[in-house]
């Protein structure tokens, strides 16, 4: 979760982001950023583009990729791996987006209040944040799943609980930095109330860096969620899930390598897409 953030990228870029790319490097960055959109579109369209039902055997078991019309082959009971991977991607991607959104929302709110208010409110909120930050994700996930019963949703709740403090810290740092700038003093003198000061004069300045961090973070989350489902804390058995599919099929690794490797590769591709778009977004912010 440690992400190096460029210092001092201000929200002036909000305007710039909407303008068209002007040079080849900018074009590359825009292409990278649009990866998030493309993956999201694919995830939405999965029920339509998926060639087979991921839960029902579609052909001979353990067919190699390309044989019998199965692009990525079939697994031990003859289910189409491509379909399973696509549905797995859909689940992982949406899960990651939900956790990031929850993190941005809760963390952003806590960070904004802490950074804008300062003083003892800041100290109190940040100590609470630290307490949450010290919880290890897998252990908490096991605890939550043990308490609420197994289920993908419960895993998401657990991950969200450990995930938002990162955003709280990030937003709080940005807001505190902005709060020291003269424009806040000028706004106070102009008679701007505390709520408008926080939402209009402070928050927009923290949004760009928070967005960059969030898009880089999607990659981390996909890996974490895959790891948790690898440990058996993900979707229940027949449902397609990238981490779990890799874990369950490891026994085939030496003879029918594609069965565990294909879902694993999908995790890699997703994480890569998220990181590339995060980097692209960061470069775009830097140049503006």
């Amino acid at each position: 979760m440690a992400i190096a953030l460029p210092a001092g990228t201000l929200a002036r870029s909000r305007v710039r982001l909407l303008s068209l790319p002007k040079s080849p490097p900018m074009l590359t960055n825009w292409a990278a950023v649009s990866l998030v959109l493309i993956v999201t579109l694919v995830a939405v369209a999965v029920p339509v583009i998926s060639p087979h039902d991921p839960l029902v055997p579609a052909g001979m078991p353990l067919q190699a990729p390309g044989k019998g019309g199965f692009l990525l082959g079939t697994d031990a009971i003859g289910r189409d791996i491509l379909s399973r991977v696509l549905f797995g991607v859909r689940a992982s991607w949406f899960a990651a987006l939900v956790v990031v959104a929850v993190g941005l929302l809760i963390g952003g709110l806590v960070g904004l209040i802490a950074g804008a208010a300062g003083g003892w409110i800041d100290s109190l909120l940040m100590r609470i944040t630290d307490a949450f930050l010290s919880l290890p994700a897998p252990v908490l996930a096991i605890a939550v799943v043990a308490a609420l019963g197994p289920g993908f949703l419960h895993t998401l709740v657990a991950v969200s609980i450990v995930w938002w403090p990162f955003y709280a810290r990030l937003v709080r740092g940005e807001v505190a930095r902005l709060a020291a700038r003269p424009h806040i003093e000028a706004a106070r003198l102009a008679g701007v109330g505390p709520i408008r000061l926080a939402t209009r004069h402070l928050l927009p300045g923290a949004v760009p860096n928070a967005l960059v961090a969030a898009s880089l973070d999607i990659g981390n989350l996909i890996l974490t969620l895959a790891a948790l489902s690898f440990l058996g804390l993900g979707q229940a058995a027949p449902a397609p899930e990238l981490g779990a599919d890799t874990a369950r099929n490891l026994t085939y690794f030496l003879q029918q390598w594609w069965v565990p490797v294909m879902p694993g590769l999908a995790v890699l591709v997703l994480a890569l897409a998220a990181n590339l778009s995060g980097d692209g977004l960061r470069s775009l912010m830097k140049t503006s």
Binding site: R12, H183, A186, R188, L189, A190, V192, H201, G205
Partner: protein
């Protein structure tokens, strides 16, 4: 910095505005040092400055640049006494000196510097030049030799420029009606500060200041950096709480402030219109009423209406300062506080912003407290000048009295350090003592040319005193107003 520059016995030292951020007293020291080094090492100096007074002090020759080209170049005295290029004329006219007429609009060049992205086909100065003809806009003028060692890039003959602009120099600025003497107005004073003390930990920024600003009056605070003038302004603004002492504002209304760095004082992602109309939200105005008010105030500060949609980053320095003024005056405050609003602007722009502040003050009937380190600016904007040294006011009085007849040795030193055309500046040795441990007695005594033993006495309490009934007061045990 200078030591690093001369370490290798260079042939040439390039000095890029080395004194711009310095106080006049230190500036005089640095200029003196550079000239001495030049004579000792025998190197050349290329000195970049926007201050013609500084240029007059240090240079043998002056090159005046405009929009990427040399407008004119020649021996210092010639260029300043008989400028050959209309732009040099304009620069000299908008320059503020201690002799600038006070109750008159300041001369400012019309228009602004052309964009370096889209150069003009002809002379870049033509749109702002009073002597421009059609031929000026066709092709860029070639540099022509007008006298031995003097070159000017202007197609208008030297003699014509001299006669045309030389005579305009005195006549073009319109008179503002002479101010009705700030007679004992019935209104209560706008600001009353009594024994204001402000300490930041051990740092004593203000050490007992009493200041009354009458209704509609303009007071300038001058002094070197560290004198506490900005802190005093912030205390009046309510941005800092005084450690002790009381402050009363007329009507309890909050003063508005224009900051030195106008760009930084405008929230970068909000539009000018949003920033201005924000101040009207409490008044229960409808959206369209607010828009009308924004349009009105933008017109008042001389900005086009469509600037309401722009953000601070898209504006020029002068425009930003005007936007700050619009924001401060859209609901006219009883007191307008200005913290060096022109120190980052070049001469011509500074003059137009000062004119605007004067206009706003008269039309909106505001009191103004103006912080500056530039005595010539203080003289033009203020009715009264307060000279500060290490957290205290050492001299206060009507602007003309303080500048023309300075009594306190420190005020004299300040006036003497101002570089001007055809005048040697005298150097005040030393720098202000640290406000962490101000000298005992009169805190100016270590630098004072007329200090006597009593001045350093820890028991001594120098108070502002003046002749009975006179507004001119001085805190010095040796010098009194005669």
């Amino acid at each position: 910095m200078i030591a690093i520059a001369i370490a290798g016995n260079p042939e040439l030292i390039i000095a890029d505005e080395p004194t711009t951020a310095l106080d006049v007293t230190v500036q005089a020291q640095v200029l003196r040092l550079l000239l001495r080094l030049r004579d000792e090492i025998g190197c050349s100096i290329m000195f970049i400055t926007h201050d013609l007074g500084v240029a007059a002090q240090i240079s043998d020759r002056i090159a005046v640049l405009y929009a990427g080209r040399i407008a004119e170049i020649g021996p210092t005295a010639d260029v300043l006494n008989q400028p050959a290029h209309p732009y040099t004329h304009g620069l000299l006219r908008s320059r503020l000196t201690l002799d600038t007429a006070r109750h008159r609009k300041l001369a400012a060049l019309a228009g602004s510097v052309p964009s370096p992205v889209t150069p003009l086909p002809g002379c870049a100065f033509a749109p702002r030049c009073v002597l421009a003809t059609l031929a000026c806009e066709a092709t860029p003028p070639d540099p022509t030799t007008i006298a031995p060692g003097r070159v000017s890039a202007c197609i208008v003959p030297f003699e014509t420029v001299s006669t045309e602009l030389g005579s305009r120099l005195t006549t073009t600025t319109e008179d503002i009606e002479p101010e009705t003497a700030p007679a004992e107005s019935s209104e209560p004073p706008a600001v009353v500060l009594k024994d204001g003390v402000k300490a930041f930990g051990k740092l004593q920024a203000l050490r007992g200041i009493s200041l009354t600003v009458a209704d509609g009056e303009s007071v300038a605070l001058v002094g070197e950096s560290g004198s506490g003038k900005s802190t005093l302004l912030r205390v009046i603004a309510g941005l800092e709480k005084p450690t002790s002492g009381t402050i009363e504002l007329a009507g309890g209304q909050r003063p508005q402030m224009v900051f030195q760095d106008a760009g930084a004082s405008l929230t970068p992602w909000l539009s000018v219109g949003e920033l201005i109309s924000e101040r009207l939200r409490r008044n229960g105005m409808s959206r369209s009423q607010r828009q009308d008010a924004v349009a009105e105030v933008l017109e008042r500060v001389g900005l086009p209406l469509d600037i309401a949609k722009a953000r601070a980053g898209q504006l020029s320095g002068g425009q930003r300062q005007r936007v700050s003024l619009a924001r401060a005056t859209v609901v006219p405050p009883s007191v307008l506080l200005c913290d060096e609003p022109t120190s980052a602007l070049d001469v011509s722009l500074a003059a137009s912003v000062l004119n605007l502040i004067g206009d706003l003050r008269r039309t909106l009937d505001m009191s103004v407290v103006f912080v500056t380190h530039d005595l010539s600016v203080a003289r033009v904007v203020a009715d009264r000048i307060a000279v500060m040294y290490l957290g205290r006011i050492v001299e206060i009085g009507p602007a003309d009295d303080v500048i023309n007849d300075p009594v306190h040795p420190y005020t004299r030193a300040l006036v003497d350090s101002i570089p001007d055309l055809g005048r040697e500046s005298r150097v005040l040795p030393g720098e202000p003592a640290s406000p962490l441990s101000p000298p005992t007695g009169c805190s100016f005594h270590p630098r004072c040319p007329i200090a006597i033993d009593t001045c350093s006495d820890g028991q001594l309490d120098v108070r502002l005193e003046g002749a009975p009934g006179s507004p001119h007061q001085i805190a010095c045990i040796e010098r009194k107003v005669s």
